[in-house]
């Protein structure tokens, strides 16, 4: 078990560095298993430095940087053992436009292996989706779902052709 854990840790560590670099141009990140304790018990520390900056405590990172670092770690673990489907509920909320694009680019990459369902308010995430469901509450307190499309020019959601029959 210890051997398996260390092997997994190795792979995750390598992936984490790679994914982080793809999200943070010129950045560097690593995972460190704390010394002197049984690997099966030891804490895992995260070191992350966005591009061009100097390494400092994770707490000093911005809200968006923290989220993107955590997403890098989740993706790193995912790459070791891809799950058949993955549901994200508004994880893109703290990200700026450029970072949302990087995040969706990674999803489009992984979508070969994995089905993604993204709950989002973000228009760039909506563009990345191949199909969209709009949830509404026309009837008070009662949810209803319609298939919608993202009108790229007007940047708004409209019911799909299918629904209009």
């Amino acid at each position: 078990a210890r051997k398996q854990f260390l092997e997994t840790f190795e792979s995750v560590q390598q992936n984490f560095s790679k994914v982080f670099k793809s999200f943070f141009e010129g950045g560097r990140a690593s995972l460190i298993l704390r010394e002197g304790i049984d690997p099966l018990e030891a804490d895992i520390d995260i070191y992350a430095t966005p591009g061009g900056k100097r390494l400092s405590a994770l707490t000093l990172l911005s809200g968006g940087e923290k989220s993107l670092t955590a997403i890098s770690l989740l993706f790193a673990i995912y790459l070791v053992k891809p799950s058949p489907f993955c549901i994200f509920d508004e994880v893109d909320a703290p990200l700026d436009d450029q970072n949302v694009r990087r995040y969706t680019a990674a999803l489009e990459d992984y979508a070969q292996e994995t089905q993604f369902i993204l709950v989002t308010h973000n228009k760039l995430s909506m563009r990345a989706a191949q199909q969209l469901y709009g949830v509404t509450m026309q009837e008070e307190g009662v949810s209803k779902v319609v298939s919608v499309q993202f009108e790229k020019e007007e940047e708004k959601l409209v019911p799909s052709q299918a629904e209009q029959q």
Partner: protein
């Protein structure tokens, strides 16, 4: 393996029956605040056997049954059905198409079905064991979980690793 269809009736804000069909790629779920998007995510967690009502934002499991609104009376049962395409034979079951169903009645009685046959909760949980999805895995992720990965105690981080190992 991928999700192909989700049917919800009587669960949380879905007083009336709704159906979503998912394609293999990226699906977006959008809509205003409070319209029911996260409730859809909760429905997927619940039908896959989530027993921690806190994860479903409810104090008691009974709270997931539609409890009425200005325009609709409360209902007596919550039912969610999830259709999974078992195309890569990832699920340890003979069928290529698997429908799991969960029902909860106001009486507190629960029902679980696989392809229409009554079974136990354990059977549903066993179905997903080792697939990387289901309660306790990281295949459903929301923003607060993302933030905890960095801030939270190191045990939370370890849990994700052990999950992948």
């Amino acid at each position: 393996m991928y999700l192909s269809e989700l049917n919800i009736i009587g669960f949380k804000s879905f007083a009336r029956k709704i159906q979503l069909r998912f394609n293999k790629g990226i699906t977006g779920v959008v809509g205003p605040n409070g319209c029911g998007k996260s409730n859809i995510v909760d429905a997927i967690r619940w039908v896959m056997g989530e027993q921690r009502s806190g994860v479903l934002r409810s104090e008691r499991m009974e709270n997931v049954i539609f409890n009425g609104s200005e325009s609709a009376k409360p209902v007596g049962m919550a039912e969610v059905s999830l259709t999974i395409q078992n195309n890569k034979n990832i699920l340890p079951i003979e069928y290529t198409e698997v429908v799991i169903t969960r029902r909860l009645f106001r009486s507190g009685e629960s029902q679980y079905l696989i392809n229409g046959n009554l079974c136990r909760l354990k059977d549903i949980l066993d179905l997903f064991m080792d697939t990387g999805v289901g309660p306790g895995t990281y295949s459903v992720i929301e923003l607060q979980q993302v933030e905890k990965i960095l801030n939270g105690k190191a045990d939370e981080r370890r849990a994700i690793f052990e999950e992948a190992a």
